[in-house]
C-alpha cells in the first residue's frame, strides 16, 4: 500500500468516537447584535486605525486628488499600478508621480520592484467591521504582489462594502462557490513582535496602509 492508502486505512480502522454533529456556525453569528451601515463604518475605521492603518474619508470623485496630496506629503513618487479603471483615472491626473505598470514590467523587473517602488494602489473587494480588515481578491489586473511588496499600500474602499464580519462576507458573497487563486484579508501594515515582544511595523510587507474610504458623491 502507498502512503496515502496506509494513512487512510489506519484512520478508517479507528473506533468511532462520540457523535460529532455539524456545528451551528450560522447560529453563533445570528445571535450577535446587528450593526447598521453607519455603525459598521465607524467600527471598521476604529479597528483598522488601532492596527496602525490610516483612513481618509472622501468621495468617489475626489479620491485621486486626495491620493496625490497624501503622496506628496509622504514624498512618494514611484507608484505601482494595475490595469484597473481606477489606475487609469489616477494616471490621467497631472501630478508628480511616476507610474509603473505591473503588466508591462516583465520578470527582470522583480528586483526593481523589491528595491525601488515607493507605493501601490489597489481596490478592496470589501471590508470587515469587527476586526478592521480589508478583503482583497487579487487578479490579473491587480496581481498579488501589489499589496505586499511596495512599502506603502493605498487601498480604495467603497464605504457601502463593509460587512460586519468575515462570516458575513463569505456568506453574502458566496465564497464557498468559487474561491480565487488567492484571497487575502489585511488588517493594517505588516508588523512583528518577535524581538522581546516589542511591536515594530514594516516587517516584510508594507510599512504603511492608507485606506481611501469612498462615499457616494454628495448631491
Amino acid at each position: 500500500m502507498n502512503a496515502r492508502d496506509s494513512i487512510l486505512a489506519r484512520l478508517r480502522a479507528a473506533p468511532a468516537g462520540d457523535p460529532a454533529p455539524l456545528p451551528d456556525v450560522a447560529g453563533w453569528y445570528a445571535a450577535m447584535p446587528r450593526l447598521d451601515a453607519a455603525e459598521r463604518l465607524a467600527r471598521f475605521k476604529a479597528a483598522i486605525e488601532a492596527s496602525h492603518a490610516e483612513v481618509h474619508e472622501t468621495y468617489r470623485s475626489l479620491w485621486p486628488d486626495l491620493l496625490l496630496s497624501i503622496a506628496e506629503q509622504k514624498g512618494l513618487r514611484r507608484f505601482l499600478v494595475g490595469g484597473t479603471p481606477e489606475a487609469a483615472l489616477l494616471r490621467s491626473r497631472r501630478g508628480a508621480l511616476d507610474f509603473i505598470d505591473y503588466e508591462h514590467a516583465g520578470i527582470d523587473w522583480r528586483d526593481e520592484m523589491f528595491a525601488n517602488v515607493d507605493a501601490s494602489l489597489t481596490n478592496a473587494r470589501c471590508a470587515l467591521a469587527d476586526t478592521g480588515s480589508l478583503v482583497l481578491w487579487p487578479d490579473s489586473r491587480e496581481p498579488r504582489m501589489m499589496s505586499l511588496v511596495p512599502p506603502v499600500h493605498f487601498v480604495l474602499l467603497d464605504a457601502s462594502a463593509i460587512h460586519q464580519h468575515l462570516y458575513e462576507a463569505m456568506n453574502k458573497e458566496g465564497w464557498a462557490d468559487g474561491m480565487p487563486t488567492n484571497a487575502v484579508v489585511i488588517s493594517g501594515p505588516s508588523k512583528t513582535a518577535d524581538i522581546q515582544q516589542t511591536l515594530a511595523y514594516g516587517a516584510h510587507g508594507p510599512k504603511e496602509v492608507v485606506v481611501l474610504l469612498c462615499r457616494e458623491n454628495q448631491e
Partner: protein
C-alpha cells in the same frame, strides 16, 4: 546550521530543566513574555460566558473534522487536485523530506525561503536541504534570529522568546556583514527586512505551513503578521505547503470561527495582519503567484493518536500556544528543556505519538496537573486527563497498550510498591497493621528514597499515627 533533532528528549530533560532554572536571563525572558501574553489574552476575552460558548463551538468544529477525518482528507485532496494543487502523503519524516527534495531536484532549486512551519521543524527539513546543498532560509523574524544563532525555536508562536534584544543586537552585529551593534528594535527589524527582501526576490522555492485546510473548497488558510508567509507563498515559482493530516476542517465558514479563537488565544491580538487563502497555483493570465503549489500531508504518529478515542482529542489542537503561555512549568524551564519540536503541555501530549513514549514519557510528568492549560485551550482539549493517561501508559504492564513505547518507564520496584500500596488501602485491617509497623519501625526507613531524596530530606513516618493520637485524646477526656 539548524539544530539536529533530539530523538530522546527524555534523556537529559532533568539536566536541561535544571540548567534553565539556573539561567537568570532565560527565567526573566520567559516570565516577562508569559505575563505579557497572559495579560493580552485576558484583555481579548472579557466576557467569560461568550468565551465559554465560543470554545464550545471551536471544540465542536474540530471534533466534527476529526470524526470525519478520512472522508474530509479525500474531499480535500480531490478539491485541491481539481484546483491544480498537487497533494502528497507522507507517513514518516523521511518520506516527507524525500518529497520536498524530489521537487527541489526536479526544479533544480538552489534556495528555499521558509515561512514559519513547525511541521518542517518536526521533520528536520532544514538539515536535509542543507545536506543536499540547498540553502534553507527562515524568514519569520523570530525564526530568522533563531536560525542565525544556530538554535531551535523555544515557543511555537514566538520562536525567539528566549532571547533579549541585547542578545539579538550582538547576534546581528556578529553574523551580518556591515551591521553595527544596535538595540533599537525598529532598526533591527529594518536590517532583517533588507536582508530577507533580497532572498524573497531570488529564491526558487517557498515553503510554508498551513493553519487550516478547507475540504469544501480545497483551500489552504495561513495567518501571519509579518508578510513573510505571503512572500514565500507568492513570489517563488514553486510553493510547497506542509502540514499534519489533522489540520483539515469541513467548511470554509469553520475557519471564520477558529480564526476568532486563534490569534486571541495565541498572542492576544484581535486579528492577524494577514489571513491568506490559497486555493490554486497561478492561473492563465495571472501575472504572479507560483506556477506549482504542492501540499504535503504528514502522518508521523498522528494516526496512532487517532486510533484511541480518548487520545484523539490531542489532534483537536490549533497550535495557538496558549497552553504553554499559561503553564507554570513551561514558564520556568522554557521551550528548549523539553527537547522536542513542540514544547509545553501540547508538546507533552503530542510528542509521544511522534517519537514514541520511550523517548518522551518524562514530559508528561513535567506538569503539576494544575489544569491551567486545559482551562485556556480554545478547543477544550482535556490536557490534564491526557497527561495522566500518558503517565499511566508509560507504566503499563503488558503489551495491551497500542502506544509505541508504552511501559518503557516501568520500574519493577516502583510497580511493586504501588501494587502493595493499592493492596494496603483496600483492606482496613491491613492498613492499620502496616501503619502500626511503619510508625514503630521508623528507624529502618532508608536514607535514599529515589527522586524524593535528591533534593529533600528522607520521609520518616511519625512516631504516633493519627489513630494513636485520637485514642490518647479520648483517654484524657
Amino acid at each position: 546550521m539548524s539544530q539536529p533533532i533530539h530523538f530522546h528528549p527524555s534523556s537529559g530533560f532533568d539536566q536541561r530543566s535544571r540548567e534553565a532554572m539556573n539561567d537568570l536571563h532565560l527565567r526573566r525572558s520567559f516570565r516577562g513574555a508569559m505575563d505579557f501574553l497572559q495579560a493580552k489574552r485576558r484583555a481579548q476575552f472579557t466576557d467569560a460566558n461568550e468565551l465559554s460558548r465560543l470554545r464550545d463551538l471551536g471544540e465542536a468544529i474540530r471534533r466534527h473534522a476529526l470524526a470525519n477525518l478520512p472522508q474530509l482528507l479525500e474531499e480535500l485532496e480531490s478539491r485541491l487536485s481539481r484546483n491544480g494543487v498537487q497533494v502528497h502523503w507522507a507517513q514518516t519524516p523521511e518520506e516527507a523530506r524525500a518529497i520536498v527534495l524530489e521537487i527541489a531536484k526536479r526544479k533544480e532549486a538552489k534556495s528555499v525561503v521558509k515561512g514559519k512551519s513547525m511541521v518542517s521543524e518536526e521533520i528536520g527539513l532544514n538539515h536535509a536541504l542543507e545536506a543536499a546543498g540547498i540553502d534553507a532560509l527562515e524568514t519569520d523574524m523570530g525564526e530568522y534570529i533563531v536560525q542565525l544563532a544556530g538554535e531551535a525555536p523555544s515557543h511555537i508562536i514566538m520562536p525567539a522568546i528566549h532571547k533579549t534584544k541585547q542578545q539579538i543586537a550582538e547576534l546581528f552585529a556578529a553574523k551580518l556583514p556591515g551591521v553595527a551593534y544596535t538595540e533599537n528594535v525598529d532598526e533591527l527589524i529594518r536590517i532583517g527586512r533588507e536582508v530577507l527582501r533580497k532572498k524573497f526576490a531570488t529564491a526558487d522555492i517557498g515553503l510554508s505551513g498551513v493553519n487550516f485546510m478547507v475540504a469544501e473548497t480545497g483551500t489552504l488558510f495561513l495567518v501571519e503578521n509579518e508578510g513573510n508567509g505571503r512572500m514565500c507563498t507568492t513570489v517563488p515559482k514553486v510553493h510547497i505547503a506542509i502540514t499534519g493530516i489533522e489540520k483539515v476542517v469541513a467548511k470554509l465558514d469553520h475557519v471564520a470561527i477558529l480564526n476568532t479563537l486563534l490569534p486571541r488565544s495565541a498572542t492576544g491580538q484581535p486579528v492577524e495582519t494577514y489571513q491568506n487563502f490559497i486555493s490554486s497555483p497561478r492561473k492563465p493570465g495571472e501575472l504572479d503567484g507560483p506556477d506549482e503549489v504542492h501540499l504535503i500531508l504528514l502522518d508521523n504518529g498522528r494516526t496512532q493518536a487517532y486510533g484511541d478515542v480518548q487520545l484523539r482529542a490531542t489532534l483537536q489542537c490549533i497550535r495557538c500556544g496558549a497552553c504553554m503561555n499559561h503553564c507554570p512549568v513551561y514558564a520556568r524551564i522554557g521551550g528548549h528543556a523539553y527537547g522536542t519540536t513542540y514544547p509545553g503541555p501540547i508538546g507533552a501530549i503530542i510528542s509521544p505519538h511522534l517519537l514514541g513514549l520511550g523517548a518522551t514519557h518524562r514530559l508528561a510528568t513535567a506538569s503539576t496537573l494544575c489544569g491551567a492549560c486545559a482551562e485556556v485551550c480554545p478547543v477544550r482539549i482535556p490536557i490534564t486527563d491526557l497527561l495522566v493517561r500518558l503517565r499511566n501508559e508509560a507504566q503499563a504492564a503488558d503489551a495491551d497498550s497500542s502506544l509505541r513505547g508504552a511501559g518503557e518507564s516501568r520500574k519493577p520496584l516502583v510497580s511493586i510498591l504501588f501494587r502493595a500500596w493499592a493492596l494496603v488501602y483496600r483492606y482496613p485491617t491491613l492498613y492499620r497493621l502496616s501503619t502500626w509497623l511503619m510508625s514503630r519501625g521508623r528507624a529502618f526507613m532508608p536514607g535514599y528514597q529515589g527522586a524524593w531524596t535528591g533534593i529533600r530530606t528522607p520521609l520518616i513516618p511519625a512516631k504516633k499515627r493519627l489513630r494513636d493520637l485520637m485514642a490518647e485524646r479520648q483517654r484524657t477526656n
